[in-house]
Symmetry: C2
Subunit: 284 residues, 2 copies
């Protein structure tokens, strides 16, 4: 009999539960990373870790050493496995009070999941997208961070009831387009790459970072700024990114259709190369 490999570790130990007093459960007081695993190797590890540490610093949560996360991730990974590695970090357990006691021991949860079933051909033929009613509140202190306060995304995702719609786009309170419920959004408009500024709302995605780096390398003009839906409708190309899908071209937002153009295809290729190049743990 072979020893079973756990697919979930809580503070380093195989477990499927956490105490009910965890602040992650009480207040969504934590952060998370969703990492694509290809052939047993996590993609963009360094970048995910950097964002995790940045989020932990912003929220003043004590983060585990990278060596700990590498060790635990290694024990979860199976050779040749494709899947999703989720790292969650909460402020830890404690009494019910917004104000936390100092020196709480944070809770880390590492989990290896199956890769989700996404629409076939989404990467090549693109997806249909809708504008959602649920708005994003603005808070510069939380903007960019992949934290666990996600009720706005939950409510927004409830709006998408049509099976042919793969993602919904969200506006902030001022009516600016910010992101999809689980993706960042880009437009190609008159030769420039345009993507929303995330200074007041939104999650600063790892794949967004990659796209911006690649666009810079390819000497494209980049505009990171507030975007109104009306302007988005005037763009020629549109695509979505996140760590699991990489890049999905957008066929249409509501009734507005987009071409899957050279710009989008070039960036999709670049992402593939970068994902392959930045694959693996530091020790792999």
């Amino acid at each position: 009999m072979t020893k079973a490999i756990p697919n979930l570790l809580v503070n380093g130990l195989p477990a499927g539960a956490i105490p009910t007093d965890d602040r992650g459960l009480r207040y969504g007081d934590g952060i998370f990373e969703t990492i694509k695993v290809c052939e047993g190797a996590p993609e963009f590890w360094r970048r995910h870790l950097r964002r995790l540490y940045l989020g932990a610093k912003s929220l003043k949560i004590e983060a585990p050493a990278e060596a700990t996360l590498v060790k635990e991730t290694t024990s979860l990974l199976r050779a040749s496995c494709d899947g999703v590695l989720r790292i969650r970090l909460t402020r830890g357990g404690g009494t019910a009070s917004y104000r936390s006691k100092p020196n709480l021991r944070p809770t880390r949860i590492l989990e290896l999941d199956a890769f989700p079933g996404y629409p076939k051909n989404a990467s090549t033929q693109g997806v249909r997208v809708r504008l959602l009613e649920t708005r994003l509140g603005q808070n510069p202190a939380l903007a960019g961070i992949k934290h666990m306060n996600r009720l706005e995304q939950v409510l927004a995702a409830q709006e998408i009831t049509e099976p042919e719609i793969a993602e919904g786009l969200m506006l902030d309170r001022e009516g600016y387009l910010i992101e999809g419920t689980r993706t960042n959004v880009f437009f190609v408009s008159n030769g420039s790459l345009v993507t929303p500024a995330l200074t007041k709302a939104g999650v600063a995605g790892i794949l967004r970072e990659i796209v911006l780096e690649e666009a810079r390398r390819l000497k494209h003009t980049i505009e990171i700024r507030p975007i109104r839906p009306a302007e988005a409708y005037c763009a020629q190309e549109c695509f979505l990114t996140n760590s699991l899908i990489h890049l999905w071209p957008v066929q249409s937002i509501e009734n507005r259709t987009y071409v899957i153009g050279a710009f989008t295809r070039e960036l999709a290729r670049s992402i593939k190369v970068r994902a392959f190049a930045e694959r693996g743990l530091p020790s792999q």
Copy 2:
């Protein structure tokens, strides 16, 4: 040996842990109630339940029957006990996706805690309060609901480092005063009772509801509307409310001091009467 009375029930069973896949932990996808227990009797039970059901309906979480909550609360309560009953309700467990599968089984957590140690004489001599930097994002779809997305309150509470400051007040993104980190706020200004509108941000407290009802009964003029800090500084009296403290008069906000006037004292007395009158489970 007497049988130990549990102080925590998860879905009706004594337990201290929940599965890591619970959406309450993943996304703060849930709601809660904090109920004062006096001599074994929960205060304002009907009102807390009404708010719980309203929140569940807004978030489309299936709520348990009142009979279930009454039964489980009864099994937690001890005669003559003073404490805090917390009811938490999450959307339940499931795969990591903002969009939830239909027919999830919600998770309910009922817990009886000791009453927290509050500053002595706060009810009679009042407390000192500060204005905090952390702002509240605006989201009408979530405003009023006592949901589990509380990172703004967590960050705000971190700002209060002075032991003599009992609470901090938070503004929304537009600079309007909304509430304390864990209290609602009221002002007496030229004979009127003034409290912030909570249509874009804030938690609609049970004690806020009681104060407004009592003020109406006492034929006071009530103004529920946006309030700027400058206006708050011009008020004559100020007080805070929540379900555990009932009412704390405010001695000062920053350097501005307030009197503990007749208006505040009268409402504090009214609350005591109402809390006594609305004590107990439907079956008690």
